[in-house]
Symmetry: none
Subunit: 256 residues, 2 copies
Amino acid sequence: MLSEKRRSRLLDHVRRKGSVRVEDLAEVLGVSVSTVRRDLDEMDERGLLRRVHGGAVAITDQPVPVETSMAERAVHNLDEKGRIAARAVDLIRPGSTVLLTGGSTTAQMVSHLPSVPDITVVTNSVAIAHAIGTTSATVQVLVLGGLLRNAELSLLGHLTTQALADVHIDLAFFSAYGLDPAYGIMGAHLAEAETDRNMITAAKHLVVLADHTKFSQRSAVRVAPVARIGTLVTDDAAPAEAVAALRAADITVIQA
Amino acid sequence: MLSEKRRSRLLDHVRRKGSVRVEDLAEVLGVSVSTVRRDLDEMDERGLLRRVHGGAVAITDQPVPVETSMAERAVHNLDEKGRIAARAVDLIRPGSTVLLTGGSTTAQMVSHLPSVPDITVVTNSVAIAHAIGTTSATVQVLVLGGLLRNAELSLLGHLTTQALADVHIDLAFFSAYGLDPAYGIMGAHLAEAETDRNMITAAKHLVVLADHTKFSQRSAVRVAPVARIGTLVTDDAAPAEAVAALRAADITVIQA
DNA sequence: CTCGTTTTGCGAGATTTTGATCATGAATGT
DNA sequence: ACATTCATGATCAAAATCTCGCAAAACGAG
């Protein structure tokens, strides 16, 4: 197994279980305890988990970015993700049904949504549903069911896929973990990939949100080929050659 | 078990019960009393609890916010609901799957859940899913899909019902809006009633949570007859004749 | 293929954690 | 006041885990 894949699976285990023992990980992954220790130590360095005697425990940081008020946004400079999110919301037509998949950039769209009349938001993100429910009374929200991934607050699995079948979606917004003009959209975790693929497939038109840092992110998991992208919303700092390549592939690129 | 996890569970027990004996903790956690003492001493050192002869008690250090009389009432009620919630969590057996329906009292159960090992929580409440996701990495959460009722942050409708069909539920906890020993469980809104009925039907055993104020609440919507109730958790101030009537109807009544 | 680098597995010695024992101090009943 | 019971802290040995160095294996470039 690729060492990168092993680390990804290791992190998955930690996040799923909350805590794991070195011995168990070694057995599950089929490697020695030394290797597991080295992996855990490195990921502790990178802040992905916390190393403790005998194993490791998951980090439980605050994953919910508290939205700043609309007024404040109008006065201050919008940050990169905020600008991208605002431009993305411009693409929504009144009366349509849109899918927001879990992710930091899509979450930024929430505060802009009330400006579009009569829309329905479908989402697999508990964070997004919670944010809309507590801030807006006009936006209709439909939550896809599924297993909660604690770290990301997004929903996965069979129930999510099944719920998708009963919903008509005009426009889907997807927060890319990484974006390669040749390879396609990258996902962060294998566990989420299948659900992401299903959500992407369910939409007529796919809008991908990716700030310029996403172009240099590499990952082993591809959730969709480039051809599936309808529109890309990114920022001015996106690599010019990547933008050109995507436009050549008949993709509308918007730079906020 | 990882020592880190053991400490976390230990702290949960202390906070849940308010106070706890060293002997009991040793038995529950499956370690020696020496280990428990060391753990308790360290957590006393860190200010997470207070060590006393024979065991430990929870810290009840209230940061004093400016309170309107309204908020003050809410806090007082919260304490009552908190006790009911704690007793309700005691009913959960390790390894089981429980349903938490949306409601203020069921939401109080969240902070106590990590003390029960290896449970799966099924819920139609975005607030509960959000709360568990941001505070605990050990509790498995499955969210039923559906339309978001913005005011309550609970999910309703066809998708919710459909998702229920794919889940096996050992124990369901329901926050009653009103409770009449003759008529049964009352719901607040007609829109929620059907989904509530379906959730109640899906469970083998139904636990109803209702503080004493719920006995005088009147509503036109009945979501379930009294006979459907398996266990009622309420407080000491519940009307004696109502408690007697329910016990006569073969319902287990717990007064926190 | 050969060389240099990286990754991995192994084992010795150091460190941490744990459970048991016991003298001492604290709570309780008479 | 006294005796009795129980909890405590200290100490020690055993077990589990970690660290570190080293060598074998895997990998990539030339």
